[in-house]
Amino acid sequence: MVVSVQNLRFHYDKAPILDIPRWTVETGERIFLHGPSGAGKSTLLNLLAGILLPDSGTIEVQGKAINTLGARQRDKWRARHIGVVFQQFNLIPYLGAVDNIRLAAGFAGATGASGRARELLLALGLAEEQHHQSASRLSIGQQQRVAIARALVNRPALLIADEPTSALDRENRDAFLSLLLNQAGECRTALVFVSHDLALADRFSRTEALADINRAEGCH
């Protein structure tokens, strides 16, 4: 079990936005999480990544209750065990593709990540001559592929993807999704993929509507 959430409660203002009695993610599982805007999808991802702390309840990642860790330990934990892919702007724009990946490896305390970075980039179809081009000069499709490599360089247990396809056109979207699922599969990384494009749902092993696991309501 990669993720185990119990009795999670969270609120920003007065109204609770999340109230999840129990929710788990198994190793290597691919979850498609959907729900309307403002339902708390991003909030859940931030909680899983240890950026936000729950008001109550526990969030275990890899058997560790991350809500009990200190701020620095949570940052370190995130670097080592959790990969993140955003909708867009995943990279430090002035660093090259390889350096972006090495930076992520550096935060996890890994050294000599250049070799693995190159392997991953080649597997993701990024030609050698683009490996050191600064990220801002890559196309959005290329940037998203570098983002997958960056997220997987430390072989995390959990990969969080927050609408990573919404900036891509249809063709790029399908290619991106294939690469993401393949690479996550090779690393045996569990994937929590947030999107509201339900057309993608059948490529995942489990589809969840946030409203089904979340008892909180009325904030949207």
């Binding site: 931030n46 950026i51 940052d75 550096g106 935060f107």
Partner: protein, 415 residues
């Protein structure tokens, strides 16, 4: 990787980074330049005279005596009698004396009557003695030894003849033109008022004033060299004299004796002490210069903070990415500080290099025009403190954007 990240980040904003770099480099250059000039002026000043235990003149203020006897600035209020000089010179504690007689000039440069002891005993800088670039000390009655600047500016060479003027104006109408002097020697540059002085023998001064009374040439035949030499040329009075003691322990006792000399009212000063007093009078100027250069530096460091602060607003996405891959808010603070440090250290090094270049390029001009002699030490212990203060200041001011980055990182969510 960390500094590479900081460097790449700066390179990404090279337009504003380069301008900030230049602003800091210029202000550090100003600060160190002022410090350098101050340091050199001070040591040039303090090096004007050394190895002399007492300077004695007619009763006057300490600083006034120092100014006219050593710096040849202003005029003596009074002369002292030759007999008083002989009395004090005969004191068993006195090792040597240098009598000086001022009052005449040549094209604006002061003429000083003295003895050849001047060339043996006078010291400047760190105990350096006078050296002749060419020729020899005066041996004849009408020999003159020129300071280096006098020789260079007026273009005199050995054997040239020149006439002295009575008084100090460069266009004096009373000239001692009956008795021209011959250039016997030219001194090496010293960076002291010696460079601007013409040295003749006491007897020479006495000789050109034969047939003068009260500063006016009496009518009649000018004295010829032959009948001058027959006369007794011992002066009746001199302007001041310098004293070297056998033992420094006697300094204060002798000073007290001279200050209470029964024959006439005299003043004796310790040149080192009075130089310090004089320098302290200039402390206000010095501190003003320092304050201004410190403010210029502060302004440029604030510019650095403004540049970094503006950059953080553009870097919201970057902060989100950093957080996602596990950077702590402290890392972002450190990154901003590293950028401040890189710019400041780089600019400081550039300023030091520029200063070295400017110093070596202007060395001759400064020596010639201002008698400022730069020694080789570019970085004085003082300026080392400044350099550390600059770096510390940059880090302190870098906290303004640094803390902003920290707080944004703390609030930043994924997505």
């Amino acid at each position: 990787m960390f500094f590479r990240l900081a460097l790449s980040s700066l390179w990404n904003r090279r337009g504003s980074a380069v301008l900030t770099f230049l602003a800091i480099a210029v202000s550090v250059f100003v600060l160190l330049g002022v410090e350098q000039i101050r340091h050199q002026a001070r040591s040039s000043f303090g090096n004007t005279v050394s190895g002399i235990d007492l300077v004695v003149g007619a009763r006057t203020g300490d600083i006034n005596l120092l100014l006219y006897s050593v710096f040849r600035l202003g005029n003596a209020t009074n002369n002292l009698a030759w007999q008083s000089y002989r009395d004090i010179a005969a004191d068993p504690n006195v090792a040597w004396t240098i009598p000086i007689s001022l009052g005449d000039s040549h094209q604006g440069y002061r003429v000083m009557g003295t003895t050849t002891d001047y060339f043996t005993h006078f010291r400047f800088g760190q105990g350096r003695s006078l050296a002749l670039a060419m020729g020899s000390p005066f041996s004849d009655l009408f020999d003159v030894v020129l300071g280096s600047e006098v020789a260079r500016t007026l273009g005199y060479r050995l054997g040239d003849e020149l006439t002295l003027a009575h008084g100090l104006g460069s266009t004096s109408f009373s000239r001692h033109d009956a008795n021209p002097f011959r250039v016997a020697g030219i001194l090496e540059p010293t960076g002291t008022p010696v460079d601007q002085t013409l040295h003749v023998s006491l007897e020479g001064i006495e000789a050109i004033h034969i047939g003068w009374q009260g500063g006016v040439k009496l009518p009649g035949l000018p004295a010829t060299v032959e009948n001058i030499k027959e006369q007794d040329l011992t002066p009746e009075s001199i302007t001041a004299f310098m004293v070297g003691l056998k033992s420094r322990l006697a300094t204060f006792r002798l000073q007290r004796q001279i200050n209470t000399y029964p024959g006439e009212p005299l003043t004796a000063i310790l040149p080192g002490v009075t130089l310090t007093q004089l320098w302290q009078m200039m402390a206000v100027m010095e501190n003003t210069l320092r304050l201004i250069s410190a403010l210029v530096l502060l302004a440029s460091l604030l510019g650095l903070a403004a540049m970094l602060l503006a950059s953080i607003r553009e870097r919201q996405r970057e902060i989100a990415v950093m957080r996602a891959i596990g950077a702590s808010p402290w890392f972002l603070l450190a990154l901003v500080e590293a950028e401040a440090l890189l710019i400041t250290v780089g600019a400081t090094l550039a300023a030091v290099a520029l200063l070295a270049l400017a110093t070596s390029a202007s060395r001759d001009a400064l020596a010639e025009r201002f008698s400022l002699f730069f020694d080789s030490s570019l970085i004085t212990p003082d300026s080392l403190v400044y350099l550390l203060a600059i770096v510390a200041g940059a880090l302190a001011i870098g906290l303004i954007p640094g803390i902003t980055a920290y707080r944004r990182a703390l609030q930043q969510q994924l997505g």
